[in-house]
Each structure stands twice: as C-alpha cells, then as structure tokens.
C-alpha cells in the first residue's frame, strides 16, 4: 500500500463531508493543482481507501421505510480460520449491510435491512441461526435513527449569528 500523504488525508476529509465536490474546488481549497488532486483521488480509489461514493439517506423521510436490525451473533470459531469463514458466509447475504467482529459479550455484530419486520425475522431464523457454527443470536430492531455516519438527522446545529457583526 502507498503512503497516505497529508494531501490525501485532507482530500478524504473534504470528500467525507461532501462526495460531490469536484477536483477543481478541492484544488482551490487545498492550495494544490487539479492534477495533484486527480492523482490523489485516483490512488485512493486504486488502493481501495475510497471504496465507494455513497449517499446518506434519512429514510424516515421516505414512505417505503425499511426495517433495520442489529444482531448480536455468538459463534464457535473454526480451527485454523477463526471467524473469517463464518463472517464471509454471513456478509455475502445481500440483506446484510455490515458485519463487525467485536470484543466482549458476543462475536459478530450484523446489521440487517429488510422491507418489514417479518422479512428480517425470517432471515434471522432461517438463514442466520441455522448456520452450523452460530451458537446464538440476539436481534435488536432500530426504532429511530438520530445520527448516522456523523450526520445528525433531525436537528442540525443552525447558524444563529447575526447577519453583520464586528
């Protein structure tokens, strides 16, 4: 992997704020040339540091609100491969949004998204808990998202300054 330069870190910060900023704007903001920015972005993409440009959606604003659950999973690790094989089996399911290996009371934290409660429930009972090395699951449904990926959904802090001040 290439060394992450300071310029790249700053590019990342700015793109994390707003992925749609174009290289010319980034160049001006960072005092670099558009070519340097383009090269930095290209390398970040090549090295899989930038994995994807995503949109954070406040789905409570949509009619077809989805159901999200966080599932604590306890498993027996496999000899030789530890948690890798089972994690892979789980993350390959398209319903699964994220999988984290955790320290503490359980092993994997699995985020699952479905169209409704039933869909998530049947995923857990049919697919997840029937996997051989899965010992137990504990499903927590998300009732409301207040903040995600650093973005506060409901009450972003507003600008309360006067229009003119000394």
């Amino acid at each position: 992997m290439r060394q992450i330069s300071e310029l790249k870190l700053k590019v990342l910060d700015l793109l994390k704020e707003d992925a749609r900023r174009d290289p010319n704007l980034l160049a001006t903001l960072l005092g670099a040339t558009p070519e340097e920015i383009a090269e930095a972005i290209a390398e970040l993409e090549e090295d899989n540091v930038i994995v994807k440009y995503a949109t954070v959606v406040n789905s409570s604003k949509l009619d077809d609100e989805k159901v999200t659950a966080l599932i604590e999973v306890q498993i027996t690790p496999e000899r030789g491969r530890g948690f890798e094989t089972i994690a892979e089996r789980i993350y390959l399911f398209p319903q699964v949004m994220s999988v984290y290996l955790m320290s503490g009371a359980y092993d994997l934290l699995v985020e699952v998204e479905g169209r409704n409660l039933k869909e998530v429930a049947s995923f857990v009972s049919d697919k997840l808990s029937t996997l051989e090395s899965v010992l137990s699951t504990k499903t927590h449904f998300i009732l409301k998202k207040y903040k995600q990926d650093g973005i506060i959904f409901e009450d972003p802090e507003e600008d309360r300054r006067l229009l003119i001040s000394p």
């Binding site: 001006t28 802090e157 300054r161 229009l163 003119i164 001040s165 000394p166």
Partner: protein, 402 residues
C-alpha cells in the same frame, strides 16, 4: 445612509443635554449602521460576520453544563480562577514563548473588549494621543475618546499587505503620543506581522517611550506564518499589554471570555478598575475557557485548517471576479479593493446587498484607508461562499458593463 441615532435623538431630545459631550459626539459604528439595512432582508448570504461559524465545541459546552450541575455559580477571585490563569500562562508560554506570572501579571476579562477598555482607562490622561493603525477594528477610536484620549490614525496600505511601517508610525508621533494599539492578525485586513516586520516598530516604540496595547485576539488564526507576539520582541514585554481571548480561536464569542497580561504595575491598576466595574468574569465562561485550553487545541487546529481552505477559495474567487485582493495571512477576513468598479465602498456594499443579496461590510467602517475596500468574512460554509462569490461575480460583471 440615514443614521438611526437621528430617531433616537428626536424621541428623547429633552434628555440628550444631560449626556457627556464625548458620548454625545460618538457616532454609531459603521457596522451597526449597515446592520440596520441588512436586518429583515430575506435570503441574504452574509460575508459580514466577524465571528466563527463554528459552534463552541461540545466538550466545552458540556463542561460548563456539568459545572452548573455541580453548583459553580459564585464570584471568582477578581483576576479570575487561579487554575484558568495558570492554564493561560502555560498556553502563552507553549504557543508564543511568553512568560507571564499568573499571580500578578494577568486578569481574566469579559472578552478582549473589556481588556482593551481597561488598558485605555488605566493609561490615558486627558489629551494623550493614542496611535491606531488603520483600517482597524471599530472600537479602538471610540473607546480612546471615551477615555479622554485622542485617537491618531496611522495608515497602512494594501501594497504593503497592510503591515504597519515604521516610517508611517514615526510620522504620526508627537510629544503627546503615549499609546500604540496593535492588532495583528488584523480585523479587517487579515494582515499579519512577522518577527522582521516587528523589529523596526519596536525601535520606534522604544525611542518614543510608547506603551503598546497588543490586541492579538486572532493569534491562533494564521496560515502560512506562525503568529509572533509583540511582547516576545526583545525589550517589549514590559511596555506591552497583551490582549487575547477565547472568542475567535475557540469559537466562543458569546461567552465573553478574554484576558490581558502585562507588567504587574499596569495589571494592578487595571485590576482596580475591573474589580469596581465587573468584579470578575462570569464563572461559567471561566470554566468553559479552562476546558477549551485543556482539551480543545485539536479542535482549534481543525477549525483553523477549515478557515485556511476557505481563505484560498475566497481570495481566488474574488480575483477571478476581477477584484484585486492582497493575500490575507491571518484572521478570517479578505479585504478586496473595489476601486476598479468606480463605486464608493458604502455604495458598493449597499447595492451588492440590494441587487445581489450578499452582505459584506464597507471598508470605510474601519477608519481611514478603508475607503475603496470591502470586508468579506470567510467564516462561512464552502457552499455559502461559493454562492456568494457567484452572486458577486454577476454583480461586478453587470457594474463593469455599465
């Protein structure tokens, strides 16, 4: 522009004769007058704000809330909480190589504003001349007058990046000169002074036995050069009252937290005024300031990086529009010249506001030498800045087409 004080005068005509002549004479600030125009206007993008667009970092707010829960609601010692003064001393030493004794060389004040007022009140004898490099922060001249002094403007120029030049300072010195107010990084120009820039100024100060009030409230907000405190120039510490505070560096304008450091004799005199006027700075603010100094330096760095990015954006943008703009090296203001448009700064700002819905402060609000310039604060989001620049571009284009 019509001045609101006119109405005030009409409504209370019978009472104005009671006012002290000095106060009667003081004009409302150019910024305030402009504010009257702006308020009520909808959809305005503002480049007129002299304060950070960040909200005080949460850990600082939280520390204050927690202290309230624990009942920190009483007076503190007049000069401020000892822990806070010690933290300030440590910070000044680490950042600017300044050694102040927190016991008798420092007062925690109600904003840098109170510190400036204390300094002038403690020093001025009626008729003393106070040298003020212009364009400058709006309150120096009025406070000087209120204190019985006579403000004397020393011009600085765009071609010098608004640095103060020793020959211009020297030219204004008379037997009555006593105080020099320095404000670098500067509001409104964004100009800074380097160590080399300071040396000839220090010589003039020494030779003419001046006392310096160094308002370094923007000291953390410098970009290509680190701030050099005037008090750190050899021989200057004893003749300098260093004013600084939390408003700009830590996004804490509303907390009203500042401080002043200097020779114990001067600080002792200022403390007398301070204790009889405000007793002490508010305890909530002091608790918050302590938290900011102890745990807020990383957030501060992050804010500075963000200002720097926007500085590049606005300077580039203004130049693309065709307005010449020196490279501001500190604070968060760009100070472009609008002379090429043929309008006065007051007319330019008013029309920019009415026709393009962008608010910026006319340069003449900042005293001599400000005419023909515009103060544009870039303490606002990238998207707002982009939109403001876009609108200004169209406006200037239209002007130049006639």
């Amino acid at each position: 522009m019509s001045v609101n004080s006119q109405d005030v005068e009409n409504n209370s005509k019978s009472m104005t004769s009671y006012l002290s002549p000095v106060v009667r004479e003081i004009q409302p600030s150019g910024i305030r007058r402009f504010f009257d125009l702006v308020s009520g206007n909808k959809d305005i993008i503002t480049l007129g704000v002299g304060e950070p667009d960040f909200i005080t970092p949460w850990h600082v707010r939280e520390a204050c809330v927690y202290s309230l829960e624990r009942g920190f609601t009483s007076y503190t010692s007049n000069a401020g909480m000892p822990e806070l003064r010690e933290a300030i001393a440590e910070y000044l030493y680490n950042s600017y190589d300044l050694k102040y004794d927190p016991k008798d060389e420092m007062i925690v004040t109600v904003g840098g504003s109170e510190a400036i007022d204390l300094a002038l009140r403690a020093l001025i004898e009626p008729g003393d001349e106070v040298l003020v490099p212009v364009p400058c922060y709006i309150s120096y001249s009025p406070i000087t007058s209120i204190g019985g002094g006579v403000p004397v403007e020393v011009e600085t120029f765009a071609k010098d990046s608004f640095k103060l030049k020793a020959e211009h300072l020297q030219a204004r010195i008379t037997p009555k000169s006593k105080i020099l107010i320095l404000n670098y990084p500067s509001n409104p120009t964004g100009g800074i002074m380097t160590y080399e820039d300071w040396l000839p100024i220090a010589k003039v100060v020494e030779e003419n036995d001046l006392i310096v009030i160094a308002d370094e409230i923007y000291s953390e907000l410098t970009y290509d050069h680190k701030h050099v405190s005037f008090a750190s120039i050899p021989g200057m510490k004893d003749r300098t009252l260093l004013v600084n505070g939390f408003s700009k560096a830590f996004a804490m304008t509303g907390w009203r937290m500042g401080y002043v450091c200097g020779h114990p004799d001067l600080i002792y005199a200022m403390l007398k005024i301070h204790q009889y006027t405000v007793m002490c700075a508010p305890v909530m603010g002091q608790v918050a300031a302590l938290e900011a100094l102890k745990n807020g330096l990383r957030e501060k760095d992050h804010m500075v990086e963000s200002y720097n990015q926007r500085r590049r954006l606005i300077v580039q943008g203004l130049r693309d529009i065709g307005l010449s703009c020196h490279d501001p090296q500190g604070a968060f203001y760009a100070f472009p010249s609008i002379q090429s448009t043929g309008l006065s700064s007051e007319e330019f700002s008013q029309r920019l506001l009415m026709e393009a819905k962008v608010a910026a402060v006319p340069g003449n609000a900042f005293g001599g030498g400000g005419e023909g310039f515009l103060r544009c604060s870039y303490a606002t989001s990238v998207s707002q800045l982009n939109e403001a620049l876009h609108r200004m571009g169209q406006f200037v284009h239209k002007l130049k087409q006639g």
